[in-house]
Subunit: 329 residues, 4 copies
């Protein structure tokens, strides 16, 4: 329909298969193009969305395209973002902006003034949003300390580790951004310590799988981040915010509400097992925000600057873990 | 796409606005027609679904149409169902089949052999399904007693009462069908007692707003149904199944998982406030079932016979409440 | 110490072994005598409490004795109560006052003006007290309906059944009194229905093991009582009070707060398994009340009249279950 | 009674008023003496326990006295312990053994072979014990990481701070011992960071009120400790143990089980507000253990060596916080 805003989707892999249908389903958006080098993936996603297969050049050259959703592989995020921003498109780009901090810093000036939304999806999670609203409403008084629990259900395949950027840039980066969003303040000091407890192969590949991190802000707020690659009990995603008058926390959702009572006790159903079934509503809310930025002129809640900051903090985590010392920022 | 099964939707009111988009969104279905007498409603829904406005005759006369979703007003359910079944269509019809038991009984022979799904949506609720699977797996031993809690958040407008069929046919009928589905046995005796505690207007209109009902089956299983038109705390939908080895229950979902701890205690967010946000997944699962019946030859889980039985039990409830005596079936 | 009030304990069986130590431990009370016909039991309890073994006559004849705790067998409750009241003692008597309603009614005039506390212990349960305070404070608006869940963990030994008075007089009587206490109104109609689902032996002995009861008060409040002799999951003791503005409920306590999360879900520890570990605080609070009645002139919260009323309602339950009809009171 | 074991209690202040009655109530123990310099406190406690007021010399000189409970002020713990151990008594001593690590180390040889129980009460908490049993039973696989949350409800009076030894020696010391008990391994590295967020007076007195600490053991297990002097929501005492197959946690107990549902959500009653009503069962279990050590020859679960170790770790926390660096042990 003519009043819908036309967008292109770059990438038809795991994240493209999330964002593509979300865009197609959105009442304000219409997906005109899918851009992807893999012929099987692009065929499938384009068919599913009723969209046309296109090259990046063609997609960006079409003036009807107002926005682009970038869901390509991590190493292409920055190049694709630069191309889209250069073509004057509004962008929703998956995190991270890049794994190379120097490269990302060098590119920063080109994003000034761009309408660029970075896909830190947890900011858009309805439970996190409700928590932040309550904190803003003062229900816990002044926010003083924060605990973020981010535990993956099971370790990724070994092949993923070398190109992941390591635990901190790949995984902790979500918590670093979320801590910043909730605390409203950047960390001034970071201490990170990590172990390899899950799988010795991860250590052999030079990475870690279990970490505890403490952030201190300029106003002496403290934040603890708890990370593991394998929880053994599902995808544990919790936020605990402590203030001068109390505490506010999000809990894990369960796959159903059934509880069974027996002589052995009470048994509740498992928590949502992975990011796909846990965070689908957050990806939909993220797409709503992208549409608002494009259609209603809303200011991006999280953009290139935040992606750059989180990447720098992730590097500081890695440095702290390596040197076993506090890193000052 | 050519491999999708074409359906028509009758009714563009409250339930049509639920079922229509669910059908349109379904990967196996395509909505070709919307049938509705109200010109504004039909225009809006047809546009939203990308469907054509049609008369009942035209829709039923089109051989491409394999199935019909009936979401018309209650007084038209039976007439529309007869027309669709007569035209050889597969039907998904909103509950109840009719408010007049004699009329519904008389029509029953015409539904023999028909592929007719009745929209008792709670059977398709994921939490209820999970509960039933656990019971079937024997986690509570032999099922012995059942408690169904079905409390509406707030009383309906007075205008709704006279054409509703009364609390038992309009509201309790869901619980009567669900009790039957879970117990796997029809009630042999019913005792119902009711009060008007919510709004004296409801009593003036000859109805009640608060009821407690006990069903006894032939094998002496007992079931308690708790109904109210106004809970004051949201839409309370719980099932408690008691067996020889334990208990299994569903709980209410909350609008978010946030909990706030203060000196006053712990505060959790409200439960889902009404049937729309509580039962959307059940309507989607119901549509899945309808598609399976049409496309894969699956046998309807709940059809005309079940609708007739539940209607008869609802009448028995009304009789029991009126006579203050047990009704034997 | 001289300022303690001296009491006697009648009965050194199961309930005497609860009340005796509670009295001995109480800062205001001192147990001077234990009265019991069983020589082993009396020896043991007297030694434990540092008390003297005495006959009923001697105990009642001692003017230093201000109060008597009656924990004898049910068939002696009334006789012992009459003797104690006749001797001018303040009495705490275990429930029920008797199993024979006519006999209990005939004795009623002799209890007028007596300071007689009947041991309906659930009125003294801290969770129930907290619930009643919240209801009284108006947190749920006007109380409209009530649900009492009272499920025993496992059926009593067959030998207990014939002398128990049956499910309603032995077990349901607690709920009948509690419903009255919470509703603040006596039932005007009772419907009870019962099954024997737990153990056929119970049916052979003329009793039932599973019951559902609906009480209606004069102001049309409704109360559902759920009873079973065997839950399969511990001692289930819950109260749900529904009002015009919301709901207040008590939950079961667990034996510890440990929760285990695994791939299979979340597992919480069992609820308290039986009345002894569930209701110890209620027996202690009951003893506090008895001391207050004796020492501080407080009016008994629950006495002979309430015991008589609950017994009559228990008989009405039995009659309703037998006749399968509503009993009007 | 002659078969009870006679003990003395030193100290009639806050902790003496807990331990004294616990000893007096214990079936195996009898309190013969109370030793205390404050004439009012000693009079009151001795009268309450039915014990005799004595000097330390007289109490230790009485060969009938087998054990001593030391509940004197912190600065007397070591001197009193040495005197009791020197006199051949079995000792239950309140934590900490001393605030001066060098002094405590110097005294250590005198405790070799002594039957000395140190009052780290949380080891005896029934919920913690249940958790440890489940971990030992393998329900979470190999224990890998631990989180201890220890939040006081409200800051102590300023006068308490200077003689407390500071947050780490006074408060965190409990967590350090508990971490050791649960992990079964001493920390090899400690990082502590602290802020003064609750009350600037605490900073003026040279202390902190909010801390986050990470312990690493030799086998690379990680433990996070969360401390605050003022939660604003009661006494938050939680343990979360993460393993290779899942997680086990204790939760806070509430003052009652009542939950109220309204349009605003669900409200649960507050958690236990302070250590007295939270940890009474742990002090009773600690007394049971002391009696077992004295009467049944059971080996102390936690003694001088553990007290010394925890004190050293508390100093390491203080050093880490001061230097903002990891302390290796």
């Amino acid at each position: 329909m003519s009043q819908k805003t036309e967008v292109a989707v770059i990438g038809a892999g795991r994240m493209g298969q999330i964002h593509g249908p979300n865009a197609a389903r959105h009442p304000d958006l219409s997906v005109r193009y899918v851009v992807e080098t893999d012929p099987v993936l692009v065929q499938k996603l384009a068919a599913q969305l009723g969209a046309t297969i296109a090259t990046l050049e063609d997609a960006l050259g079409d003036p009807a395209i107002k926005g682009v959703v970038i869901a390509s592989s991590t190493d292409m995020h920055l190049e694709h973002s630069l191309a889209c921003v250069g073509a004057g498109k509004v962008v929703l780009c998956e995190k991270p902006i890049d794994l190379d901090l120097a490269k990302a810093r060098a590119a920063a000036p080109k994003f000034e003034g761009a309408r660029f939304v970075l896909g830190f999806n947890r900011r858009f999670d309805p439970h996190v949003s409700a928590l932040r609203q309550k904190i803003a409403a003062g229900v816990i008084g002044d926010l003083e300390t924060l605990t973020l629990i981010n535990h993956d259900p099971a370790a990724p395949p070994p092949a993923f580790i070398p190109r992941s950027g390591g635990l901190f840039k790949d995984f902790t980066i979500h918590d670093l951004d979320l801590a910043y969003a909730i605390l409203g303040e950047a960390p001034s000091e970071i201490f990170a310590t990590a172990s390899c407890l899950v799988d010795p192969m991860i250590a052999e590949l030079g990475d870690v799988d279990t970490a505890r991190i403490i952030l201190r802000t300029k106003s002496n707020k403290l934040c603890v981040i708890s990370n593991t690659r394998r929880s053994g009990y599902g995808y544990d995603q919790r936020v605990e915010a402590y203030g001068s008058k109390g505490m506010a926390a999000t809990a894990n959702e369960r796959i159903d509400t059934v509880e069974v009572w027996s002589e052995a006790g009470a048994h509740a159903s498992p928590i949502r097992p992975n990011f796909l079934n846990r965070y689908m509503p957050s990806y939909a809310a993220e797409m709503d925000h992208f549409a608002d930025v494009m259609v209603r002129g809303v200011k991006p809640q999280v953009g290139y600057a935040e992606g750059l900051a989180a990447l720098a903090w992730a590097e500081a985590c890695a440095e702290s873990a390596r040197t076993n010392a506090v890193v000052r920022l």
